[in-house]
Assembly symmetry: C2
Homo-oligomer: 383 residues x 2
């Protein structure tokens, strides 16, 4: 297997960029990436995106990104795995290099979400769910997650205020990340008093709607040192799925997509959860953070909320989780998020992340999921 | 580089399947694939699809396909490159195996197009074009191709009746392909008398609107013989892009996406155009066939229409092109088409294609494109 490295990264600050289209957002991210590398000559492009088709009537997205990045002629495709599109795009980019097809692949995640009324964006987000059996009845994506959260609180006897600690921590980290969409600090009381979105999920349990683009340049071992003095190796890649229709799942609180993706990535990397120093995980809602932490093996089923209450997974712990502020505060431009995560882990392992730093770290993990943990990717990186 | 084989194929007859959803179409194709192999245990899924998001409000398509194929748990993603999604999905599947990540990957192309009024589907097809600079003004995808066709006729002094020979031939082949949507024979007069879609493109220059699914099981060399007695090797994979906005192109009649994808695939396979025995190329409109044949190097620029007039590329010639009936007659369920093409080439090289056969053949080629030759993939297979 050819070794694959993440040799450069670039991000756009996540925001409601009403004045920027796909091309402008991609251009900023790629420009920052170009400043991060010694050489920039990608031979192919993979784009992580969910909503260009439903919200912006734009397919052929790889060609749009090629032009925005000054790479006309280079081939490629868009990867869709709903809110997990970005992580899966990195997995596809990894494969394009490890296969020997290319030596340099540009992976770009980009999403525009904020131009429309929230109801329109909410409908588009519900496309992550099963349309024929769920979304067609008007259930929102938040409502599906609310069912899971209520079951979690019931089964594991977690109180609503316990589950408010996660977003408080995420906003604390987000406040120090210059690329984060939400940089205000919040309290448990703020969470509990915020508007109900879909009971028991409140506004401050929910990731914000925003626009953004992130870029990662993946390269083969042959060119890694020509492109960067500090290439970070991708040592594990895993993907998994669970039933699209929630009623058909084995266990709503133990999604098999996360278990399968994590098992594959750990095995390939030759590590276990205890070896991970720093992780970026999917926390579109507070409940998502708990399922992600448990699915990745950082806590047993039903344990993660207690660990969080005890201060675990915070800066300084192993693993430190979501020092970026996570989807909750860094933001969640859905199809771009997985690429942001990988970019952040690369910077953490290099020691130049511009927010809360992990300190000395060898292994980092990025976990991104589409739907209610329906399509999950896990990427493990090593310094 | 690990060797990759197409070890099994399955197709759904293309039709207006008003009574079948994505899951039913996928199920039929995969069931046929299962009958074609000795062992079926894919570890990952790649889905080629363009319109599930815009027409059916359904993302997370890889999870839907996993369930339809009885493969819950297996990870994967959807690949979008507009009408070229299927070919790019095969390219991504190739990479997932050649990379060493997996030994068996199921590539499924699926598209539902016929449930809506033609105007709705036409709008969705225009998403292949540049929305901000083209589609927003109401131009249809056929109209963009009509501009190219008119330029071709003008520059190369081709007459309208000369360009009617292609669809006549495609219907002849389609009439013998049990999976084809259009099985009626037509004459040059039929083409010239058919309704104008976007002058000079007429109805019978245009691929029909239909629903379908095709599946290809890609495997590593390690398991190829366990899965099939007649695995067909994928020896070349290329991808290329051209400007999304047609006004920005170097030359409308010489799309760089085709040149770049073909050059890469030929080089990797160690062959030249003259070595290809049988090919399935993209002919969404008659003009598309000409650009594809020339871009692949089977004819020089401006020459292909004369070659077709002389009977070249027909059954018995080298290469024989579109013995399936092509997009014109086999049909063009857009995101599935590239997977149909690869399945057909596999059967041609094995000698069991159930329509017009190429006879003895060593090298086959499948060329699929999204947009007006905006995103092109070229896959070369060897017996």
């Amino acid at each position: 297997m050819r070794r694959v490295y993440a040799a450069g990264v670039g991000m756009t600050k996540i925001d409601r960029h009403y004045d920027k289209g796909f091309q402008e957002l991609v251009h900023i991210a790629v420009k920052n990436l170009v400043d991060d590398v010694k050489m920039f000559s990608p031979e192919a492009i993979v784009v992580g995106n969910m909503m260009s088709s439903s919200l912006y009537q734009q397919d052929s997205l790889a060609a749009l990104v090629a032009d925005a990045a000054g790479l006309r002629g280079r081939g490629g495709f868009k990867v869709e795995a709903a809110c997990g599109s970005g992580g899966h795009a990195v997995a596809a980019g990894y494969a394009l290099i490890a296969s020997g097809l290319y030596d340099q692949v540009l992976v770009v995640g980009v999403e525009k979400m904020s131009d429309y009324p929230t109801a329109t964006t909410t409908s588009a987000l519900a496309q992550a769910a099963d349309f024929e059996h769920e979304a067609i009845y008007g259930v929102s994506f938040a409502a599906l997650n609310a069912l899971v959260m209520r079951l979690y609180m019931h089964r594991y006897e977690a109180r609503r205020e316990d589950l408010a600690l996660w977003p408080v921590r995420m906003h604390e980290y987000g406040s120090q990340n210059p690329y984060a969409q939400l940089r205000n600090r919040i309290t448990v009381e703020d969470v509990l008093k915020s508007a109900v979105i879909a009971d028991p999920i409140r506004l401050m349990d929910s990731s914000p709607i925003g626009d953004g683009a992130a870029a990662v340049l993946l390269v083969s071992e042959d060119v890694a040192r020509k492109v960067s003095d500090t290439p970070i190796q991708i040592v594990g890649v895993g993907m998994g799925s669970d039933g699209l229709d929630l009623t058909s799942r084995e266990d709503l609180l133990n999604p098999m997509s996360v278990r399968i993706a994590a098992e594959k990535a750990y095995k390939m990397a030759g590590v276990e959860p205890m070896h991970i120093d720093v992780a970026e995980i999917h926390d579109a809602f507070t409940i998502t953070a708990l399922l992600s932490i448990e699915g990745l093996g950082f806590a047993k089923l039903g344990e993660s909320w207690r660990f969080i209450k005890d201060g675990r997974f915070a800066s300084g712990d192993k693993p430190s989780i979501n020092l970026s502020g996570g989807l909750k505060a860094r933001g969640h431009p859905v199809g771009a998020t997985g690429v942001y995560q990988v970019a952040e882990i690369v910077m953490q392992l290099r020691g130049d992340f511009p927010g809360v730093k992990v300190g000395k770290a060898e292994y980092g993990l990025a976990m991104n999921t589409g739907g209610v943990a329906t399509l999950t990717s896990v990427i493990i990186l090593k310094r």
